[in-house]
């Protein structure tokens, strides 16, 4: 039996971020991971000879720059390559191109509607203003509005000051934005269906909401508040696949003296007299530590790996009703050659970006209605990318890796578990949709990995296959995330902490929950100086 200062349960990116900070503060830290590899949902896997897949998360933007610099991730091999805009293919052969250049987009919008081109400036300015408000909040622990503790009060006062520093009409605009549906929000700016469809998708990716659901505009922000090299809202590929992020984190962790054990997951988080004493692994190993930090989602942590009798009943009830319905799947494809899309000019840079086939908000909403009824979408939304057009290291020369994020896919099919036949039908639906816009596409497919919420749960351990470890609705955000009263990374068990995306500010390969948890833990150990102040303020 070995002793540690801290054990991190789960080697996803947040677990590794927490582990890095703790190790750097001088704690003897162990990361335990059930799979034979670390990375959680930020991994590069070789599933077809010669091909590297980003088989879960597939693009990066939200990873906080503080984390990148403080943990020296570039030194440990991480390189983010920004990608060119993208395209929406339309029924009937047309397409909307998107570029990295605002002016080019403006001209592209003007092709459809001069009014929309004009609105685009106002839209970009308004959304950026909302991003500007929220970005500094990502690396702060949410205050408890029911508490009178000085730290909570001063944090509330900070938020109040920040809010009231804005002109009155901007405050209203922001509250409206936070509560509206993306569909209603876009209606205030644009009239062209395909433009609205392109802009709306960021508001539904990963969530169990449709574009007409109130609150979806906030999710848009969740995808816009990142940056690549200070370029707000930009997205990029991690060179070598998303696993490069977690590999760099692991290297940074090991350089700080950390220890990683893979191949056997947590069986039990050990608790004695209301405080944790360590963990017992599935293979029988036991490790003791006064601190255990769970990277697993809140349901998995407390309903599977902690005895119910060790928890307050009200807490268990809250955890049970935490909403974590998965809404998406993934189809990862090895391609013999770059597919052709007749709608796109041959030299279009758009093929290097995100490509969609959903050309109206209504089609997106209809896809959501299928999810509500317990089916995968018959006409799904695809966020399709070919990272190898930017990063050739992932495949043999001339071959390509294609990543298709697919929405919607429910955690269960009409209340029953997914079967292999369901999964295959789901995969076929996706391939058929691509084939429709790229005749001959299917002949290029060398291998395809189809992942439904069932596979995401089984492999990555994301309950119900929810990629954010919990839905991003207001009843589960800020001081309500994951559950009211426990939004500050602590759990009811002393020494047991949470650092996964179930906690504020949520998922998206951001690392913020991991860093915030580390900050709280070090503060509780009276070592706050071990961490720098967050500085990503626009």
């Amino acid at each position: 039996m070995s002793r540690y200062d801290a054990i991190v349960a789960g080697g996803g990116h947040n677990g590794l971020v927490t582990a890095c900070y703790l190790a750097r503060a001088g704690l003897k830290t162990l990361v335990v991971e059930k799979n034979d590899w670390v990375g959680g949902a930020a991994v590069s896997r070789s599933l077809h000879p010669g091909f590297t897949y980003s088989n879960c998360s597939y693009v990066s933007s939200l990873l906080r720059p503080e984390i990148m610099r403080e943990l020296e991730l570039p030194k440990h091999g991480l390189q983010i390559l920004p990608y060119e805009g993208g395209a929406v293919f339309m029924k009937g052969g047309g397409y909307l191109a998107m570029y990295r250049d605002h002016e080019a987009n403006r001209r592209e919008f003007a092709r459809f509607s001069p009014r929309d081109a004009e609105s685009y400036d106002r839209y970009s300015r308004d959304v950026l203003r909302h991003c500007r408000f929220i970005r500094p909040l990502l690396l702060r622990t949410p205050p408890d509005p029911t508490s009178f503790r000085p730290r909570d009060l001063s944090e509330l006062a900070f938020l109040g000051r920040k809010l009231f520093a804005m002109p009155e009409k901007d405050i209203y605009a922001m509250i409206r934005f936070w509560t509206m549906s993306i569909s209603d929000f876009l209606d205030e700016y644009f009239e062209t269906p395909v433009i609205k469809a392109y802009l709306a998708v960021s508001a539904i990716i990963g969530t169990a909401l449709g574009p007409m659901s109130p609150g979806s505009a906030y999710v848009l922000l969740h995808h816009y508040m990142g940056d690549v090299d200070g370029n707000i809202g930009a997205w990029g590929f991690a060179r070598g696949g998303m696993g490069s992020i977690t590999q760099a984190l692991m290297a940074s962790f090991k350089a700080a003296g950390g220890e990683v054990r893979t191949g056997s997951g947590i069986e039990k988080i050990l608790v004695r007299n209301g405080r944790t004493t360590g963990v017992a692994l599935a293979n029988g190993d036991e490790f003791t530590a006064p601190l255990v930090i769970s990277n697993m989602d809140v349901k998995r942590t407390f309903l599977k790996h902690v005895e119910e009798r060790d928890l307050p009943p009200a807490f268990v009830k809250s955890v049970k009703r935490f909403k974590i319905r998965g809404s998406s799947g993934k189809v990862n494809i090895a391609l013999d050659a770059l597919p052709r899309f007749p709608a796109l000019p041959d030299d279009s840079p758009c093929i290097r970006g995100d490509m969609h086939f959903t050309d109206s908000i209504e089609r997106l909403e209809l896809a959501y209605d299928d999810w509500k009824a317990g089916h995968f979408s018959r006409d799904p939304f695809l966020d399709m990318m070919i990272p190898t057009t930017t990063d050739p290291t992932m495949t043999p020369p001339g071959k390509h890796f294609m990543s298709c994020f697919v929405q919607y896919a429910p955690p269960k099919i009409e209340g029953r578990d997914w079967t292999d036949a369901d999964r295959d039908a789901f995969g076929q639906t996706v391939l058929n949709q691509i084939e429709e816009y790229s005749p001959g596409f299917k002949k290029l497919v060398l291998h395809a990995e189809v992942r439904t919420p069932r596979e995401l749960e089984a492999e990555v351990g994301l309950t119900e296959g929810n990629i954010f470890q919990g839905e991003l609705t207001f009843d589960q955000l800020l001081f309500n995330r994951p559950v009211p009263g426990y939004a500050q990374y602590r759990s009811p068990i002393e020494g047991l902490w949470m650092c996964g995306s179930s906690t504020h500010p949520g998922g998206g390969v951001m690392g913020a929950p991991g860093r915030n948890a580390a900050a709280e833990i070090l503060r509780s150990l009276k070592k706050p100086a071990a961490m720098g102040e967050a500085y990503a303020v626009l």
């Binding site: 029911t146 009409k169 509250i175 209809l366």
Partner: protein
């Protein structure tokens, strides 16, 4: 040229409430209503789900003939196999019928939570929405008092209050209850009159809006006035007349004239002009500001904010004249009958309007007023129904769509009351489009402006317009589009007049 201290435009419940409050302050008030009859959209309602007590008391409506036929109308969740449950008392205090002991316990506890949370919101309805800026006359003391009430509820309750503030009703019901009939009914009540499905985030606020209101001092009650909702309007009209208000019906306003951003006069279609320095309009803000005042008088930002007001109506009203009493598998007809068999049924009924179609299996609330009457049964019965969901802009067009929608409603009714189709002598269906036409309410939306979070409190009906005042001095907004929203309660009108008076009114 007649002149008066104040002109109130619109003779619906909010116009009447505003006129009453202005008259109580001693002003000489003229109320102008386009239609030959008073009442506006309140005439569509068949039950009273909250009547502002300030109005009822100050104007002594009881002295003007308001009598309650039933102070607590029960609700029956209809089941197609006759296995109904009946909810009795204010907001379903007790449930009769086959409901598991577990659900009974869970409902009692959920009901307590919902009523407690809704009660906390009630005081906010009686005050003008605060402004989120310093030095803008925000009633800080009131806010502080209401804020303290939140703190006093205890930490666990406060946490639960905050969690449930912006949540969807479907998740809450699924978390706490098992019975589809009970869940379907509560889900239906939550979205009645709203452009939302039970699964739409924030939908629970719709229920809070209803059960934070009271009738006869009973929070969450549903009451039936003797003579129907028309009796409330009649009593209110009598009360305001008694206080000196001149009511002109058949008087359509053509323009509100302003000079130097100050109200000067109101011109009728007939050419008649009233000079006044105070106008309180209970018409939709878009009608008031864009049609009557006119965009050229206003600033760009104001016009944009008004145009962005969302007013999608999705509730239709059906009145059936029946030969004989209908039979809903033995359900007691002295009850509000609700067809909403499950949360999913309500959600799927909502799905249709997102795409400009009506629901093929609509959910609805039914009332047979004669069942509450002591008059002898003369063989003919009126069935009044509020039906969801149908859009204002039907894609197939309402000319073709109306008979098709009626057919869908009748099919659904037949499912719950076999043989009812044969009893129908006459059917009068008002779609949201009809409602918009008849009552001049854009979109045909019950609350004029949709009651969604981004159009609530200081955002209602739009940015910069929430405090009843407009950029035109002396012109105030009093419609259901204003805080705290619609329903037959008169709160918006009462608040608006109060605010106009506090601001010096005409002065």
């Amino acid at each position: 040229m007649p002149s008066c201290d104040a002109i109130v435009i619109g003779g619906g419940i909010n116009g009447l409430a505003a006129a009453g409050r202005l008259a109580l302050s001693g002003a000489k008030v003229t109320l102008l209503e386009t239609a030959p009859e008073l009442g506006g959209m309140a005439t569509l309602a068949h039950l009273c789900m909250g009547l502002d007590p300030r109005l009822e008391k100050s104007l002594a409506l009881a002295d003007h003939g308001l009598v309650w036929a039933e102070r607590n109308v029960s609700s029956t969740a209809l089941s197609p196999d006759g296995n109904h449950i009946v909810l009795k008392g204010a907001f379903a205090e007790t449930v009769e019928g086959s409901l598991s002991a577990e659900d009974r316990r869970a409902w009692t506890s959920l009901r307590d939570t919902l009523l407690r949370n809704a009660a906390l919101l009630a005081p906010f309805k009686a005050m003008p929405p605060p402004r989120l800026a310093r030095d803008h006359g925000t009633p800080l003391l009131d806010l502080l008092r209401n804020g303290l009430a939140l703190r006093r509820m205890g930490r666990d309750n406060l946490r639960e209050f905050l969690r449930l503030m912006l949540i969807n009703v479907a998740d809450v019901l699924d978390d706490e209850l098992a019975d589809d009939r009970l869940k379907g009914l509560i889900a239906f009540d939550t979205v009645l009159g709203h452009h939302a499905g039970p699964r739409s985030p924030n939908s629970l606020l719709g229920l809070y809006h209803r059960i934070s209101s009271e009738v006869n001092g009973q929070q969450g009650a549903i009451a039936l006035p003797r003579g129907g909702v028309a009796a409330v309007i009649a009593a209110l009209a009598g009360a305001v007349r008694a206080r000196g208000v001149t009511i002109q019906t058949g008087a359509r306003v053509k323009a509100i004239t302003a000079e130097d951003d100050r109200v000067q006069s109101v011109t009728l279609e007939s050419g008649e002009i009233f000079t006044t320095s105070l106008v309180v309009s209970a018409l939709h803000p878009a009608t008031t500001l864009l049609s009557l005042v006119g965009a050229p008088v206003l600033d760009t930002g104001v016009v944009r904010n008004v145009r962005n007001i969302k007013s999608r109506g999705s509730t239709a009203k059906l009145t059936l004249t029946l030969q004989g009493k209908p039979d809903f598998h033995g359900a007691d007809l002295r009850s509000r009958l609700v067809i909403a068999p499950s949360v999913r049924a309500v959600e799927e009924a909502f799905n249709a309007v997102k795409y400009g179609a009506f629901s093929e299996a609509p959910v609805m609330e039914l009332l047979l007023p004669q069942a509450f009457s002591t008059e002898p049964d003369l063989g003919r019965h009126t069935l009044s129904a509020l039906v969801q969901f149908a859009p204002h802009d039907l894609r197939m067009g309402w000319v073709k769509g109306k008979p098709a929608f009626l057919k869908a409603i009748m099919k659904q009714l037949e499912h719950f009351a076999p043989g009812i189709g044969k009893q129908v002598i006459a059917a009068d269906l008002l779609t949201p489009h009809d409602i918009a036409q008849h009552f001049g309410a854009p979109g045909g939306q019950w609350h004029h402006a949709e009651l969604s979070v981004e159009q609530m409190l200081f955002l209602r009906p739009g940015v910069g317009l929430a405090q009843y005042a407009t950029p035109v001095r002396g012109l105030y907004l009093a419609s259901a589009a204003m805080h705290p929203g619609g329903g037959v309660n008169g709160s918006a009108g009462w608040n608006a007049a109060g605010h106009a008076l506090a601001k010096g009114g005409a002065a």
